[in-house]
Amino acid sequence: FSTFPGNRGWSKRELTYRIINYTPDMPRSEVDHAIQRAFRVWSDVTPLTFTRVYDVTSDIEISFAAQVHNDFYPFDGPHGTLAHAFAPSSGIGGDAHFDEDETWTSGSNGYNLFIVAAHEFGHSLGLLHSNDPSALMYPTYHYTEPSEFRLPEDDVNGIQSLYGARITPEEPTVPEQPSDPSTPSCQPNITFDAVTTLRGEILFFKDKTFLRQISQNSVVEHHLIKVFWPSLPNHIQAAYEFQDRDEVLVFKGAKYWVINGYEITKDSPKSIYDLGFPRSVRRIDAAVHDENSRKTYFFVEDKYWSYDEQQQRMDSGFPKKIVDNFPGLTKIRAAFEKDGFLYLFDGDRQYEFSTAKKRVTRLLKNNSWIKC
């Protein structure tokens, strides 16, 4: 992350904002909601509060405009520049302008206003661009399902370097001690961030913890990720085991860590772009190595890549649509391989997939492997 040299952000913590006008692309209520949620991204992690005002000048004035619009930075028509914002100060300081020549949306069929506004408000609060491709403050646009959006660590560190962390009465101000997490919920509809085998065990990652199924009949263990691997981040997004190298690769954002046994290799984290992903990919949803085909599959939104571990490069002709080669599946959130089958998770569904038969052979409950 980076901040404006010599600009420590707003001196006050209670800020106001005003929506000057609306885009015709979206219902007003959806614009209001997107803007409110975008401010909450920052108020959730700092002492800042944002109050909407209507008929008086506010600290952060929000408007939609096209081409030349009473500042020195004209917009450029569809695509290219989507929006811009000004550093904290009086007058135009803090204001955010959105290019009306874009198509604004609450979903993914256009530019998601919530995502762009959350980025621009980072500038309004004193952040510059980040060179971390996983960060919200990275300069280029990247769609994330708003309901799954989580402010990346780089951005949390950046904004808290200006305003400190948010302290709420019920939260202890002492640093969190790694205490044993509560017993895992074994609901059939439990969802996982990532799943992988590791030397015969199965690890189910979720938020800051993971479930460890050591063998078929042992009672599942529940651990904090950081207790086993202090340098791994929480909320990892994908993981797979490549047994030929006795390695597990763990992915979050545009980085990945290599675990050898229980040790993280010294050259971790690495960049996913070294594996051959295009820059438009900012995160991996799931990954699995298939012993049958000797290929590793990476799943990103509705597409997937095939990676050749021997050649150490992506196979040509990818990405392909998941549904084209995994009939019945459009998105995959977590995956692992066992006894020649792939187990693919999407939401609260687990699909047993035979790559030999190229079809789903069973539908299982998500907790089918977990012995609580």
């Binding site: 930075y73 989507l82 661009h129 280029t140």
Partner: protein, 81 residues
Amino acid sequence: FPAKAPEANKETDAKFAEEYLKKYYNLQTNGRQSRKKGDGPLITKIKEMQQFLGLKVTGILDSDTMEVMHQPRCGFVDAGE
């Protein structure tokens, strides 16, 4: 049809890159290419951009670099005032 000659592509890319670097990396040019030995301001700025965006720092407008420059983005500068 007729397919643009590769040089035309190169020229288009160079023009696009110059605008991009002026806008987001504070490139200052008076339109003339530097005759001095070593990296001129344009190549220096291309390297600065590649460094910032996590690209391979080559100083040339390779496909990775062009792909990122064509991605929709925020109008705020990446470097400079």
